[in-house]
Amino acid sequence: MEHSKHIWRAALILLFLGTGFVGVRHFLIPKSFGQAGHYRYDSIFEYMAQEPNHGSRESCRKCHEEKFAETVKGRHAPVQCEVCHAPVSAHAKDDKKIADMPTNPNHKLCALCHQKLDSRPKGFPQVDLRRHLAGGGRTVAATIPDAACFECHSAHEPSPLRGER
């Protein structure tokens, strides 16, 4: 047709883009994609080759026997050290301390697990931070001070210290 030049050009561009996409796609798809499902199969081996960062509390034990003993006999026994601190790989390597371990002495750490929430199981110990702190007629500052909880609870053996409050 005589007057359809523009249409052919547009069609050509679309064709070009289409084949271009198919071509580019060929290079963008990772080699092992789809080998065992809709994902890059090689990623499994990459993950397998990684060194674990966490070592569980057993890894802390050899250097922190005291804290370990204190924790496992208390109510925080189900909580791993690395949950409140940081992975061991950032702190100790080959039986030597390589960097400081964060301690996180902040009520926000406790609130993470103990703030009263609807979605927590009923039996789990949880408190409304403000109301709990105000218990026994104490006044609570507008912003809860960082160390608020440690006055009466120890992080490792959290059962309330006797005689307070």
Partner: protein, 414 residues
């Protein structure tokens, strides 16, 4: 039921993960589909009275289309990964189908706009110099053939494209409804009606957007608002608003009448937590009032003066735009407000103004579509000056940039 008894929520079932961005996404997508469908009433079904919005509807559709996926990208923590669904499409995933549907629809709209505006592009290419000329010439693909034969061919293709575009638009938005309708864990969403509800409300919002945009553009461009066009838009708007609202109610009424266990929480939700946005905004302010107003426009046509009709139509359309937004909100947020245990509610959802997925960003994304339309209009005016009636074959004949005017007279001389 009300309040917050401990223990009715499953663990990890506390937060509302789909926020404003996921409300905005179906809204903008709806406007895409809606404005395209109105445009097709002219392009395919030959409703001549809708000619004045034939170009506007296409450009608006493109503008919204470009920004429709942006809320999703903001919502995703890793927006650059969006290309993965294009490169390695997973056809068993409904969400991944979006890549294909979006791409196909984008090409259709782009081609259609190109064909409709081709004569303008060519004329601009002829009349400009330097970089602008190069710009327009490349848009024209370096063929300046605007003979009647070529325009006829263009027109034929436009009709075909628009005809393919209607089902494509329906798929595009029906798919969004499908996203929600197929979440079987959520009894408020999980209904086959969902795609249809989304589709009708999408078309409603699209027509309403045309009523509003058209009138605003005409007012600020100093042109006359075609009464027939507004009347016809109001008629269609009335029809689709009634359809949309009926379907929306039908879904609720079905659940309510069945009185199955989910009604305990859904009923409490609609009459409690969502009372304002569902009963107040979606049903009364957004549905009842505009349907009455549009009914007046349609049924009492002989008694209305043009300005009165335009105003009533404008107000009703604005209300309906709010209604559809409220409906998206009630579905997306409302559907997440109750716990999956169906025993109570999650924490309330209040979007911030300045957060990453907050109201500010949502507003910016929404406005971006209009900025796009304005820029488009700067380079390829949607309306030409009335006097130059010989303009293009498709659009309304009014235009306003001086550059264009000068170009016209130059053409007349040459």
């Amino acid at each position: 039921m009300e309040g917050s008894g401990v223990g009715f929520s499953y663990p990890n079932d506390l937060h509302i993960a789909w926020g404003v961005m996921i409300v905005l996404y179906p809204y903008v997508t709806g406007l895409v589909a809606g404005s395209f469908v109105v445009g097709s009433l002219y392009h395919v079904f030959g409703r001549q009275e809708l000619k004045p919005i034939s170009r506007l509807s296409l450009v608006a559709s493109l503008g919204f289309l470009i920004f429709a996926p942006v809320p999703l990208l903001f919502h995703l923590g890793q927006p650059m990964r969006c290309f993965n669904i294009m490169i390695t499409p997973n056809f068993s995933s409904a969400m991944a189908a979006f890549g294909v549907i979006y791409a196909v629809y984008f090409i259709i709209v782009l081609l259609e706009i190109w064909l409709v505006f081709r004569k303008d592009i060519v004329m601009n290419a002829r009349q400009n110099r330097g970089i602008l000329r190069w710009f327009y010439a490349s848009l024209a693909l370096w063929t300046y053939d605007v003979s009647d034969e070529s325009r006829k061919l263009d027109h034929k293709i436009v009709v075909v494209l628009a005809a393919i575009g209607i089902p494509a638009a329906c798929v595009l938005h029906g798919y969004v409804g499908f996203m929600f309708g197929s979440v079987k864990a959520n009894p408020y969403w999980s209904t086959p009606l969902m795609p249809v509800i989304f589709l009708t409300s999408a078309i409603t919002s699209g027509i309403a957007m045309m009523v509003v945009l058209y009138q605003i553009l005409m007012k600020f461009g100093g042109r006359t608002i075609e009464p027939d066009c507004v009347q016809s838009l109001c008629k269609w708007l009335w029809l689709f608003a009634i359809l949309a609202v009926t379907l929306e109610l039908l879904e609720i009424v079905c659940i309510a009448y069945e009185r199955s266990e989910e009604w305990v929480v859904i009923g409490t939700l609609l009459s409690g937590k969502l009372a304002f946005s569902f009963i107040g905004i979606q049903l009364v302010f957004g549905s009842l009032i505009p349907i009455i107003l549009l009914g007046i426009v349609v049924l009492m046509r002989p008694y209305l003066t043009n300005p009165l009709r335009n105003t009533i139509g404008f107000v009703a359309a604005l209300f309906l735009l709010v209604q559809v937004l409220a409906m998206r909100w009630n579905v997306v947020i409302g559907g997440q407000l109750f716990s999956k245990s169906l025993m109570g509610f999650r924490e309330a959802y209040q979007p911030g103004l300045f957060e990453k997925e907050g109201l500010g960003v949502a507003l910016l994304i929404f406005l971006a579509s209009f900025v796009f339309m304005a820029i488009f209009n700067r380079f390829l005016p949607m309306y030409e000056k009335k006097e130059n009636g010989n303009g293009t074959g498709d659009g309304a004949k009014t235009g306003f940039t001086e550059r264009r005017e000068a170009a016209k007279s130059e053409e007349a001389r040459g």
